[in-house]
């Protein structure tokens, strides 16, 4: 971001000392505008009371807390925001927005930030959420519904997590909770068209 004001200390004062450059940036431009335009959320309304962080189920996981994320958006710290682990660990539980005195919609912001993070190729290493989302939506596009057993199998192959939770699928099969064949809904070609139009932003 280019500074809006750039001032050098007046000559005369502190004569002899190295000149100090002060750069003042306009708070709220850049990422905050982008987030507002695409999500409708208003990050600039946040006054850092941190009520969101006190109720957030993933605030203590060692990455950013929600109020810290909002501050980084306000100050246009694009790299820190888009490569953060927090945007991928948010469970979209909506506790923050329910309690926020300024109605800053952090879950909606995170939806937009996740998409930007993928577009710019800076998503934090180790998150399996993008692969899961892709596999999930692929199932919806082709079958019309999600077949949980295939979803889990394809997700495991694609995310190379073959041995995580290996006991779960057999246990669920034994309880009759994972039918081998899922239902399929007709209208596959119309559905593919719907997906194509929705992901192009509407219209053909």
């Amino acid at each position: 971001m280019t500074p809006v004001t750039k001032a050098k200390e007046a000559p005369g004062a502190n004569a002899g000392a190295a000149p100090v450059t002060v750069e003042i940036f306009q708070i709220g431009s850049g990422l905050a505008d982008e987030v507002k335009a695409t999500s409708g959320a208003s990050p600039m309304s946040c006054y850092q009371c941190a009520k969101c962080s006190s109720g957030c189920p993933v605030a203590n996981r060692g990455d950013l807390k929600p109020h810290e994320l909002v501050r980084l958006v306000q100050t246009n710290q694009r790299g820190a925001v888009l490569s953060s682990r927090f945007i991928w660990e948010c469970t979209s539980c909506h506790t923050c927005i329910t309690r926020c005195p300024q109605q800053v919609d952090i879950p909606a912001m995170n939806d937009v930030l996740r998409a930007l993070s993928l577009d710019e190729g800076v998503a934090v290493a180790g998150t399996a959420v993008p692969v899961f989302n892709e596999v999930f939506l692929d199932s919806v596009r082709t079958r019309g519904r999600v077949h949980e057993l295939s979803l889990m199998a394809v997700f495991k192959l694609r995310s190379r997590r073959l041995f995580a939770d290996v006991d779960k699928a057999p246990a669920m099969l034994a309880k009759g909770k994972l039918p081998l064949f899922g239902s399929r809904v007709g209208g596959k070609s119309q559905r593919k068209e719907l997906f194509r139009r929705a992901t192009k932003g509407g219209g053909a």
């Binding site: 469970t91 909506h94 246990a171 007709g186």
Partner: protein, 297 residues
């Protein structure tokens, strides 16, 4: 009011017990709710994580297929997505126009969406009370609502966002003893069960610990992901952290069905991971085992 049911994908698989117990209870109270024909997935978290327009279009396609009837929903995630889409479409003509282009027909965002808790607890309260045959006397229950029913309140308009009571009142009507506890609307981690189970272990451990501290015999839920996470992860929590809970985690419809005299298989009680039968036996509440003490109304 005429209802049509939107089951959602989980109710065909991991939550088939929610499906069977919902229809068992519906049968007892005279709730007629045929499935929406040709329903498709609401897109759930994956859609709103990826593309806002898709997240509104998938619910809109289903709400159009409801043809004006009130949509009855069991899954809290579906409920949230359908309500969210209604909110966006009814509130913003630009979104409505875009969704119409994507779906191929105009949808006004006004089809009513009701969760089974609202239908049974508000619309049909007297029918529920009249259908109770075998009160769940002596059963202490923590009602767990999770995130998506009550939040965000401006969109779901579901009971009270911080202290919902709908499920509590229903199970009280069924004769159970419901407790006041602080983790009613904490998050269980939902679909992170697949992508990062460490999140689920942290969150479910804390919810289960609070339920145990409240002195309950079991937990009642109203969401497929809440139920599965709280039930199935107890084994992992015991193995990895040494905390044993052995708390059966029911769908609220299973407990209502028990009180209405439904059979064990109608309620799919055998598909729960923490076996509820020892508890029900100890309390004299097994399905079909209490004819002598049956309350006649």
């Amino acid at each position: 009011m005429s209802y049509t049911f939107y089951p959602g994908c989980s109710l065909e698989g991991t939550a088939k017990d929610f499906h069977s117990s919902s229809y068992a209870v519906a049968g007892k109270v005279g709730l007629d709710m045929p499935e929406i024909e040709g329903w498709i997935c609401c897109g759930s978290t994956a859609a709103h994580n990826s593309e806002a327009l898709l997240a509104d279009a998938l619910p809109a396609a289903n709400l159009l297929a409801a043809r004006g009837r009130t949509v009855a929903v069991a899954c809290a995630s579906c409920y949230s997505r359908l309500k969210m889409a209604n909110h966006h479409i009814a509130g913003d003509p630009a979104v409505r126009a875009k969704v119409a282009e994507v779906v191929g027909s105009d949808y006004d965002g006004l089809t009513p969406v009701r969760h089974l808790l609202e239908i049974l607890g508000e619309d049909m309260r007297s029918q529920v009370a009249a259908a109770v045959r075998r009160p769940l006397s002596g059963l202490k229950v923590a009602c767990y609502y999770g995130c998506l029913l009550s939040r965000p309140p401006e969109i779901t308009h579901f009971d009270d966002a911080e202290n919902p009571m709908l499920m509590d009142r229903l199970l009280d009507t069924a004769g159970a003893t419901v407790v006041d506890w602080p983790h009613k609307t904490e998050c269980c981690g939902a679909s992170f069960s697949i992508t990062d189970p460490s999140i689920i272990l942290d969150l479910t451990d804390s919810i289960l610990a609070m339920a145990q501290a409240a002195g309950v015999d079991c937990i009642a839920t109203a969401c497929p992901l809440c139920q599965l996470n709280l039930d199935m992860r107890q084994k992992d929590i015991a193995a990895k952290r040494g905390h044993r809970y052995d708390l059966p985690v029911f769908y609220f419809t299973q407990l209502l069905g028990l009180a209405m005299g439904c059979s064990d298989s109608e309620l799919s009680l055998g598909s729960l991971f923490v076996d509820p039968h020892p508890l029900l036996r100890a309390k004299g509440l097994e399905a079909g085992a209490r004819l002598a003490t049956e309350v006649r109304s």
